[in-house]
Amino acid sequence: MQHLIHFNALKTIWIKECTRFLRIWVQTLVPPAITMTLYFIIFGSLIGQRIGEMGGVSYMEFIVPGLIMMSVITSAYSNVASSFFSAKFQRNIEEMLVAPVSNLTIILGYVGGGVARALLVALIVTVVSSFFVPLNIQSFGMIIATVLLTATLFALGGLLNALFAKTFDDISIIPTFVLTPLTYLGGVFYSITLLPDWAQVVSQANPIIYMVNGFRAGFIGVSDIQPAIAIGVLVAFNAVFLTVAWSLLKRGAGIRS
């Protein structure tokens, strides 16, 4: 009986979250399609032709997995950060706090919404990319595992950001000062083997390296990182973020006085 109650609550939060990002599709689904089309045209077609091959494939083919992953990261993060913070700001988070919704259910519901948006965006960007370069899949399992773990991790990151945020400015600080630099330095546009030795070592502390390379391994079979290591690092990060989010919600941090 309790399980059914939790399942219904989880389903409700998930439907609510999906309804929200579908209602505002112009803000949530269209921008990544436009941005990524521009990336494909400028970096892939125009500049890419002069770069030639990277990692044994055309530059366009090399950057497609990274660009899809970039959209996944941004979409998962911003969906949960803005939705959860709005719920805090408008105080409709109280609708869940007064009900017997467990903290884990709240986390899974919001993260599920962020992952749903990220996957939909990934699909849209993949379809867009297929106009520029033929779709090549080496390992479907690797693609699914990496995209799910990445979307979940950044949805959890968005939730943590929203829990700590006190103003709308606070939910743009992390994307601007942390997420964007890490993404651009995360091997989306280049192979880390091109970097000097010290920079290659430093790059391995960037979690986005593992996501981009794991995803790229699934598409073109080319990766700077062993796929098993990439998955292991992602699982570990997810476990840490989930534990932190759960313990913060349990304490009522940022949501209960």
Binding site: A9, I13, R20, L97, V98
Partner: protein
């Protein structure tokens, strides 16, 4: 006796040291319609926040229909429907989405939630607005939406924190009728309000809270019984001369209205006979509505004086 609510030794100290509750004790009977009154900042909303799990308590115990808030939180939450003071729904969601989602958080299956939504939104006159975004509703509709939302999981205890603030008289009365009806159907109700007339009209029992403590917890009847003086407004046929009454205090408001203060023990016979002797015709009479207000102010002041004396 089953209690809808049992609170003992409830304390709350906020970060920064403000002590909002100082060991509050309170019981509300099952099936009761209970008014919790107090000046602004007295601790009413903190008490409600703790009962409904929005505020963490510092000490004390809370039981709802016998379930303990510390050890049986899920069961406690299932019993309670909360209508908060401020609008706290997502302004961009539709009326139907808001109430159906709320039921979902309590584990109510979506189909059942939709059936109940039709029932309660219709009863509260909102069914026609079910597909409108909440932000487009009037203030009164938003208040009713919060009541419907609190009822979708069919709680046994409904807590309303100033539900009729800013609502016009006609709508307020229709909300009163609705609340009376659900109370008669077995839902226990706790209400905070600043409209003392509302408490008098609706509630059987009353608690007055000030500075984090209960200073009066009694039946409305016995509280009103403490009033030894009542004020009546008499509508008269227009009089040319000034009306005078020797037995009671009176004020002539205009040529056809007087206000008289009558000791409860004496009754109104003397007033009527004196008016008859002067040839004054009484057309109608009513009780002055703010008598409870006077008593409330008196009790709060007395409570503060007692504390200072101690």
């Amino acid at each position: 006796m089953t209690y809808a609510l049992e609170i003992s030794g409830l304390k709350k100290t906020y970060k920064g040291g403000f002590e909002a509750l100082k060991g509050l004790n309170l019981t509300v009977n099952a099936g009761d319609f209970y008014a919790l009154l107090g000046p602004n900042g007295a601790g009413k909303s903190t008490t409600i926040g703790i009962i409904s799990s929005l505020v963490n308590k510092s000490a004390g115990s809370v039981k709802v229909f016998g379930y303990d808030l510390d050890s049986q939180k899920t069961q406690v939450k299932q019993q309670i429907g909360l209508v908060p003071q401020e609008f706290n729904f997502n302004q961009f969601e539709t009326v139907l989405q808001i109430v159906v989602n709320q039921a979902g958080y309590y584990g109510v299956p979506r189909e059942l939630a939709k059936q109940r939504a039709e029932k309660y939104l219709s009863q509260l006159g909102l069914w026609e607005k079910r597909n409108s975004p909440a932000r487009s509703l009037s203030g009164g509709m938003k208040r009713r939406l919060m009541i419907a939302r609190a009822l979708l999981h069919e709680p046994k205890l409904l807590i309303l924190d100033e539900p009729t603030a800013g609502v016009d008289i006609e709508l307020r009365r229709s909300m009163w009728e609705f609340l009376k009806r659900i109370n008669s159907e077995g839902v226990s109700i706790i209400l905070t309000t600043h409209y003392l007339e509302e408490a008098e009209m609706l509630c059987r029992n009353i608690g007055i809270i000030d500075k984090g403590e209960i200073i009066e917890n009694t039946s409305m009847k016995s509280l009103l019984g403490k009033l030894n003086m009542e004020t009546f407004i008499l509508d008269l046929a227009p009089v040319e001369n000034t009306v005078t009454l020797s037995t009671v205090n009176m004020r002539q408001l205009d040529d056809h209205t007087i206000e008289v203060d009558v000791p409860k023990a004496e009754g109104l016979n003397n007033v009527f006979s004196e008016l008859s002797q002067q040839g004054v015709k009484v057309l109608s009479m009513r009780n002055k509505a703010n008598r409870l207000e006077e008593l409330f102010v008196h009790l709060v002041e007395q409570g503060r004086q007692d504390k200072e004396a101690v």
